[in-house]
Subunit: 146 residues, 2 copies
Amino acid sequence: MPNNQFKRGELYSFITGKASTAIARRLQKKFNAAGLNITIEQWSVLYHLWKQEGISQQELCNATFRDKPSITRLVDNLERLNLVKRVASANDRRINLIYLTKQAQKLQEETMALAEETLNEALITVPSDRIDVCKEVLQIVYDNLK
Amino acid sequence: MPNNQFKRGELYSFITGKASTAIARRLQKKFNAAGLNITIEQWSVLYHLWKQEGISQQELCNATFRDKPSITRLVDNLERLNLVKRVASANDRRINLIYLTKQAQKLQEETMALAEETLNEALITVPSDRIDVCKEVLQIVYDNLK
DNA sequence: GGCATATAGTTGTTTGTGCAACTATCCAAA
DNA sequence: TTTGGATAGTTGCACAAACAACTATATGCC
């Protein structure tokens, strides 16, 4: 049976996300070492804006799996850093569309390279078929709970 | 080659730990629904104390993969909730040994059951051999980066 | 048109995290 | 025995997350 996999003693790291915490810390250190003055959380917002800018804060909530207050404050901080701009939507005045500044556009290549580097360091020695299984399981977990 | 597994577009959820975030949120909701007035982070400290109490804050740092200030404040809050007590070590007066109160001992069974329930919900439909692969990969990631 | 309801975003509060700087204590070597 | 370095823990600061309560705008229905 697929159920009841977890005896005591095995719960901990799954729930606390030790692995993803370690990845995020390593990436943050790389950002700092490169003199990039952004947090991982801010980067995660830019990540989606690089794919498509001019989306609403609500769309950023959905994309980043965060609630509205979190996005409000992340956008606040990104705006203070001159990395994004809020632009009121012409159609619907409740909506802020978020656009990247030129400074933010310049960050894309360097930060994405550091992110790939981090994951390569994390996954070196892991065969790709096992990585695929791991990714699939984590996706299922997310889908089961969201 | 095991390297270079990650093309753009696949980075995001690994780095942000979507799955473990979802698990932690679900468990926190279960705690709240059960009227248990503790956070997941506090629970993660209790988790290690249930295995062995009377350990130092530094040992809690190692066990929970947190830095010293984080543990100081978690222990502060657990002490305010009357769940743990700091006891100065007789041998080494720099050290606080952390002990559980009776209230905290009572929490163990109920919270562990909710944690197992959460993981079963997360992993229902996932065959156990794939879960094993996933756990192994995450452990390797952690070991590669720590 | 006017009102109820839904949606987008903001603000306040509590909790947690990471870093740097700090205090207190211990230990070892001169 | 003193002194210098290591270790344990605390505090201050900036940033982030979750929840509740709030404002402003839009929309659908009478």
